[in-house]
């Protein structure tokens, strides 16, 4: 197949480039020349109705939506009509910029030429944009450069995602903020914003609120050290449509919960709190039970997801009173005592994951959790020893509502009632499905 035969059909340079750029991730089953041949052949027969070039644009659009960018690019080389379809705004509403440097990532980056093309030709079509950025500062800078060029678009969603070490944090704050506020100011209808691990600050949140308060529904900003409790309170006060929020515990306050449960505010759906300790022995503030109660009254179905990354001795203020947490994750060792309190004070608990606990088996704590957490349907235990009989008892009490049950085999302690071989049958019986403990290679 010669190149010349192909060239008459070749659409603007960009797509050729693009195909080179994306070759590793996607591919079409044949080269453009092949597809050209196959597609054109029926057309040479005038009686044949299957003229692909005359497919209505609507149908083409429908098909194109299922194709990855690279395949669309190849398809666009087939004929004019397909090439037009390639540029339809509907196909450019979503884009994920992948910004990686060869020195810091194994993955490919979106080709600079494609980025240029998008900014030039399609930036006014963009609505759902995300940036995946590796651990290099250059990549984070490149993301900011693109952001600051998005002046004539109205984004609905924006996600800044660090795929490795959080590199936005390494940028000069002012540089990051000015790029981000370009989007805040120009978009005016942002509904979802994910800016975890970035140097976003209170003033920039104010800009966000000033321009997007009616539309904002989702805000994820875990580990944004430059935001203060007052900054997030301002968001909650003004953005009454906010339904999902993710932040670190140090931003959580009684005022925030009360603002989120004010009459003007829609029902909250998810609240995700990360509790991370910067240095051992850190003191954490408490949240009043009345604030949580107000939250539950206002949004009876809301999910409270809490991730704990604390040393064992830092749990003092937690789980003293009833807390409406639904999903609990303990990323480090947590004491039997705290797990005992979880059993007492978390009546809405749906999922519990414990990475590790001390040296003594968790038996009574598990039984209590099964007894009192009537909605518990998922549990994962890492380095937490449990006796086989307590484990079986736990599963029996929870029964089939346990849709997820994960435990490492080596932490199950065989006892007089069950050996390790028996436990898989016992547990399977109570769950009503085949179940095995998790295994790691013993090689």
């Amino acid at each position: 197949m010669s190149n010349t035969q192909n060239s008459s059909l070749r659409p603007p340079r960009m797509k050729r480039r693009l195909s080179r750029d994306c070759e590793d991730s996607t591919s079409s089953c044949e080269g453009p020349a092949d597809s050209y041949k196959r597609v054109r052949q029926p057309a040479e027969d005038p009686g044949d109705l299957s003229n692909w070039a005359r497919l209505p644009q609507e149908i083409l659009l429908h098909i194109f939506q299922y194709l990855p960018l690279l395949d669309r690019a190849f398809a666009s080389q087939v004929c004019r009509s397909w090439n037009q379809a390639f540029h339809m705004p509907e196909l450019w509403r979503c884009f994920e910029f992948e910004l990686n440097q060869p020195a810091s990532s194994y993955l490919k980056a979106t080709h600079p030429d494609l980025i240029k093309q998008i900014i030039k030709k399609h930036s006014n079509h963009l609505q759902y944009v995300s940036f995946k950025v590796d651990s290099s500062t250059e990549s984070a800078e490149a993301a900011c450069d693109i952001l600051s060029q998005l002046v004539n678009c109205s984004l609905k969603t924006l996600g800044l995602i660090s795929t490795a070490r959080p590199s936005f944090m390494e940028l000069p704050k002012s540089h990051f903020i000015s790029a981000l506020t370009v989007v805040f100011v120009n978009s005016k209808s942002l509904s979802s914003l994910k800016i975890d691990d970035t140097p976003v600050d209170d003033p920039s949140l104010k800009v966000l609120v000033a321009n997007n308060s009616d539309t904002l529904k989702l805000l994820k900003m875990s580990s944004c050290p430059h935001v203060s409790p007052a900054g997030i309170l301002c968001v909650a006060d003004q953005c009454h449509g906010l339904r999902e929020l993710a932040l670190n515990y140090h931003l959580l306050s009684d005022e925030l919960l009360l603002a989120l449960s004010s009459e003007k505010h829609v029902h909250l759906e998810h609240l995700r709190i990360d509790v991370v300790s910067e240095n051992p022995g850190q003191q954490f503030h408490t949240i009043k039970k009345s604030s949580w109660d107000a939250m539950v009254r206002h949004s009876p179905k809301f999910n409270l997801v809490m991730y704990f990354f604390l040393y064992e001795d830092e749990f003092g203020p937690f789980f003293r009173d009833e807390i409406p947490v639904t999903h609990l994750y303990f990323g480090r060792s947590v004491s039997k005592e705290v797990l005992g309190r979880v059993g007492m004070n978390c009546p809405r608990l749906v999922e519990l994951v414990v990475c590790a606990n001390g040296l003594r088996p968790l038996d009574e704590e598990l039984i209590r959790i099964a007894e009192r957490c009537q909605h518990l349907s998922a549990i994962g235990l890492g380095e937490c020893e449990v006796s086989c009989s307590a484990f079986v008892e736990f599963v029996k009490m929870c029964g089939r509502r346990l849709s997820q049950l994960s435990i490492m085999e080596e932490v199950l302690i065989p006892d007089h009632k069950y050996s390790l071989d028996e436990i898989h049958w016992e547990v399977s019986k109570h769950l009503g499905r085949v179940w095995f403990p998790d295994m790691m290679p013993t090689w």
Binding site: N3, R20, D21, E23, D24, S25, S27, S28, G31, P32, A33, D34, L61, H62, P68, C94, E96, S104, S105, Y106, L107, D113, Y128, S130, S135, K156, T157, L158, R165, S191, D196, L218, K220, A246, E269, H270, Y307, L310, H327, Y329, G331, V350, V353, C355, A356, L359, A378, G380, G382, E383, E385, S403, Q404, V434, W435, D438, M439, M440, P441, W443
Partner: protein, 642 residues
């Protein structure tokens, strides 16, 4: 016509239970046992000195055992493909025997040699003896696919006949009239080389903790059934406990010997059965052979997958956007992480060539998904250099497991580089042994010495940041970031949108495989080109004009399809969780299926956060609306972004 045989040793460095060797001796006039060693390759290879020493000791031992039979070993300097044709002529060879190699590159090499042999009119006999089972048989039972979970593998294996019993060792009687002609300059030409002849500096080398060789292996095995049978029982049959594991090299340890084939896995299997019967009545269930079976599992998984040891182009490996960070990698590999537990293990590994499997979990988790977010491939390479029992398949397979890159591992559980070790060895004796600098630290602080007050550090004569490094990461912060990333990756793979962390990973018992019609692994040579081209500048790639391009893309496409159907296709009747485990449409491109969640709030919120309820899907076009509806019903998002 007289039969002149060559037995070609590669792995399987033993005389017992060596069916191919027996074939070589059967009815032959002459037998020569050869081992190929490329001395120029030795210095340049990434195998560490301990591995070379172990190998040379194996060869020494083999040579001396053969000498007891009036034979000897021929260590041939060079590459088999270059030298065999000459040997065939020189020795008038009519029969060549060797042990089957199940690994992809071994198979390729053996196919080439078989061709050479048949061209030279040499009969080739191969026998399976490095694994318990015929791996092809296992795959046959599993619809020609390697099982992707260990449970599934266990099930398959337990439906098979038990492994064949081990054969008798080669003896003088079996050799009969068969002789080994030895030339005068045998030692110079074919003797086992010394370590320093291979270019290693042996002056500062400590004595081997793991002496290589079949004799040593058999001695260790004897101890299992002899005076040490209680310890052997614990080591082999009792499930490893989190808090009492022997971290030190055990005189009963056998894994390096199995790796080099100094010990037959079948012999070990039957000795284990004997041991079980000695201590308990009845016959052991299949799970009691776990150690051997994990090894077998990885051999099976890798046997048709030449890209088993890498992320790119490996159909069973999840693509995770690992960080490239040579400095951090070096700190890990050189035991300078500042976490005594990690550094002690890495020191033990470098000094002795073996670490306990819990220790492997700890350092592997730390390097990859736990703390440093560095690719498992890098860790695998370090193990390949240092770990005596690191075999290509087993090593890569373990790393795939540890990094949660394959085999349906639950990723929620990260080993804490402080707490995990403390649980196993509260006193820190293990650390003191390998990191003498920390010797005087009280047990309270030995796992996190940076938390010790200054006076404690000074009293211990080890100031953190001066005499021993500060911890290279904040574990709490790193695990927060990493668990979130793993969750996102798995969520995208599974298309699961709920809040549950656990539900993002399919349960391990569901076997699931339909690793595509074509061997997911049979990657055409074009892939190598891809690989090399990735390193070049993106703008320069794909310049090859003309006919090669379409073809090239064609193969890639097949490859991509393999991905599509690979690790997460679930048999629908087994999905008890109500959520679907679809397949990454584009491997590794962890795209963000923005349009997918438009229907359900819960759905939306969780997937990476942000897209509003009026996603791109609620366009005005009626057609589009239909698409959305369909998509919602399917519960899967379509990737709009490339």
């Amino acid at each position: 016509m007289p039969i002149n045989s060559i037995h070609w040793f590669r792995k399987g460095l033993r005389l017992h239970d060596n069916p191919a060797l027996l074939e070589a001796a059967r009815g032959s006039q002459t037998l020569r046992c050869v081992y190929f060693l490329d001395p120029w390759f030795a210095g340049a290879s990434n195998r560490g000195i301990n591995r070379w020493r172990f190998l040379l000791q194996c060869l020494e031992d083999l040579d001396s055992s053969l000498r007891k039979l009036n034979s000897c070993l021929f260590v041939i300097r060079g590459q088999p493909a270059n030298i065999f044709p000459r040997l065939f002529k020189e020795w008038k060879v009519s029969r060549l025997t060797f042990e089957c190699d199940s690994e992809p590159f071994g198979k390729e090499r053996d196919a080439a040699i078989k061709k050479l042999a048949s061209e030279a009119g040499v009969e080739v006999i191969t026998k399976i003896s490095h694994t318990l089972y015929d791996l092809d048989r296992i795959m046959e039972l599993n619809s020609s696919q390697p099982p992707l979970t260990y449970k599934r593998f266990q099930t398959l294996v337990s439906s098979m006949e038990p492994p064949e019993p081990p054969l008798e060792p080669l003896t003088r009687e079996l050799l009969g009239n068969c002789v080994t002609p030895v030339s005068e300059n045998h030692k110079e030409r074919y003797g086992v080389p010394l370590l320093d002849e291979l270019g290693f500096d042996t002056e500062s080398l400590a004595p081997a903790v793991w002496p290589g060789g079949e004799s040593e292996a058999l001695m260790r095995l004897e101890r299992h059934l002899g005076p040490d049978s209680t310890a052997a029982w614990q080591e082999n049959f009792e499930r490893p406990k989190m808090n009492s594991s022997p971290l030190l090299a055990s005189p009963l340890g056998l894994s390096p010997y199995l790796r080099f084939g100094c010990l037959s896995c079948r012999l070990f299997y039957y000795k284990l059965t004997e041991l079980f019967k000695k201590v308990k009545n009845g016959s052991p269930s299949i799970s009691l052979y776990d150690k051997l079976l994990w090894r077998e599992f990885f051999y099976t998984a890798a046997s048709n997958n030449p890209r088993f040891d890498r992320m790119e182009g490996n159909p069973i490996c999840i693509r995770i956007p690992w960080d490239r960070n040579p400095e951090a990698l070096a700190k890990w590999a050189e035991a300078k992480t500042g976490f005594p537990w990690i550094d002690a293990i890495m020191t033990q590994l470098r000094q002795e060539g073996w670490i306990h499997h819990l220790a492997r979990h700890a350092v592997a988790c730390f390097l990859t998904r736990g703390d440093l977010w560095i690719s498992w491939e890098e860790g695998m390479k370090v193990f390949e250099e240092l770990l005596l029992d690191a075999d290509w398949s087993v090593n890569a397979g373990s790393w795939l497991c540890h990094s949660c890159s394959s085999f349906f591992q639950q990723f929620f559980h990260c080993y804490c580089p402080v707490g995990f070790g403390r649980r196993i060895d509260p006193n820190g004796d293990f650390i003191r042994r390998y990191l003498p600098i920390l010797q005087d630290f009280p047990a309270k602080y030995i796992y996190d010495p940076w938390n010790a007050p200054e006076e404690v550090q000074r009293a211990a004569k080890c100031v953190i940041g001066v005499d021993y490094p500060k911890p290279m990461v904040n574990h709490a912060e790193a695990s927060r970031l990493n668990i979130e990333r793993m969750r996102q990756i798995y969520q995208q793979l599974s298309r699961y949108r709920g809040l549950s962390l656990l539900a993002t990973v399919p349960s391990n018992h569901m076997e699931v495989v339909s690793v595509s019609e074509a061997q997911g692994a049979a990657v055409p040579p074009t892939c190598r080109r891809t690989q090399s081209s990735t390193s070049s500048h993106p703008g320069v790639r794909r310049e090859q004009p003309g006919p090669s391009r379409p073809k090239y893309r064609g193969t890639r496409h097949r490859h991509a399809l393999n991905h599509r159907t690979s690790p997460y296709t679930t048999q629908s009747n087994l999905t008890e969780n109500g959520h679907e485990f679809a397949v990454p449409q584009q491997p590794g491109r962890l795209f963000w299926p923005i349009g997918g969640g438009a229907g359900k709030r819960e759905t939306e919120a969780e997937h990476n956060g942000c897209h509003g309820d009026d996603g791109p899907s609620t366009s005005s076009s009626a057609l589009k609306a239909q698409v959305d509806k369909k998509r919602r019903e399917d519960g899967e998002g379509v990737a709009f972004s490339s």
